[in-house]
Symmetry: C2
Subunit: 200 residues, 2 copies
Amino acid sequence: MRAKSEEKRQSILNAASEVFRVTGFEGASMSDICAKAGYSRATLYSYFPSKEALFLEIMLAGGQSQAEAITAALDPATPNIKESLIHFGKALLTFIYSPEILALRRLAIAEATRSDFGHLFYTRSRKQGEVVLTAFLKQAMDAGKLRQVDSSVAVAHLSGLLESELEEMFYRSEIVPLDPLYIDRITNSAVNVFMAAYGL
Amino acid sequence: MRAKSEEKRQSILNAASEVFRVTGFEGASMSDICAKAGYSRATLYSYFPSKEALFLEIMLAGGQSQAEAITAALDPATPNIKESLIHFGKALLTFIYSPEILALRRLAIAEATRSDFGHLFYTRSRKQGEVVLTAFLKQAMDAGKLRQVDSSVAVAHLSGLLESELEEMFYRSEIVPLDPLYIDRITNSAVNVFMAAYGL
DNA sequence: ACTAGACTGCACTGTATAGTATAGTTATGA
DNA sequence: TCATAACTATACTATACAGTGCAGTCTAGT
């Protein structure tokens, strides 16, 4: 007999992810997804029970990869806090403004009213990252590298500064990757402002 | 003969606005909008040629009101720059995180891939506000109240700081108005950080 | 080679919606 | 008052899509 393959499942997820990102949840049709994946409708329904289930799995996977990327960008053993924040900022922006992740974030916002998927995505991605970053900053404060203040607020301010020049990206119809040099400039000025307020 | 009334037109816009905000563009049906407005489908189509036209008008009106609110919150004649930024911040956050405007912003993001409406909304609302705020900060810099730096970046940083603790609002399924005391706290800490970096 | 079950292709059901058409009703301005 | 046009109610067209069902085909494991 023939076995269902994990690769096939993945290729369906990839195709669906692309279609959802381009057309949104409502705009995506299961037929489009099948065509993109190269399988028949029946096959798709044998792997995923419904459009919603497919969508949910994509959002959760995307959220998790975002949380992991944020965690990975932090190196707690660094002596120079400013350098490590700059490294973190560049990695963060590169990842969360990549076309794939940005599209997922927009999808999450778009679906926030229709279902809980949006908020689920947020709590599994950004919020997770914030927890890790908060611990990182708290450690830096305790080590005397930053002023002792509410580290959650400091995290929000750092994120807000880093993303401050990129708001327009959410509203653009075509999503293009950011120029690494632009990311460098943005990160440097954001961390400078952060250090002016939170440094010693 | 009978004349079409501007009030009727407005009440259709109001009803449509509410339906769009709750269900999104695709999710909203013209019948829902008719029911909410209390008119027949034919009447609605005699006032607006299509669903898209109706949506566009709502987005543009919302964008303009946002731009006006931002402009109105700035008083260029103020001697104390910090106080005036705090006043501006509170007014800004109160307005752009009101349930109505926040819902429009989410709609704009949701529709950004499907059409240009999202970007149009952005350029007519936020971007307009940024232009005015940039001029305001530039003037303060020239008057020696702030450090002389790129005022566009300063504007982005100020906005980013002000909104930094409110990102979750975009992902929540129910939208609730913010507590004014919470807005005060957020604004104060954001402006403090801003002044630490940009003050003299 | 045989067979279980994965797979295709297609038709079908049921539902929903944008927009139009029409026939009859009501309000209003001259 | 009366003609005009706004209005309602409703039916209709055309389309689209989620999900199901089924007849038959292909493939891998034994």
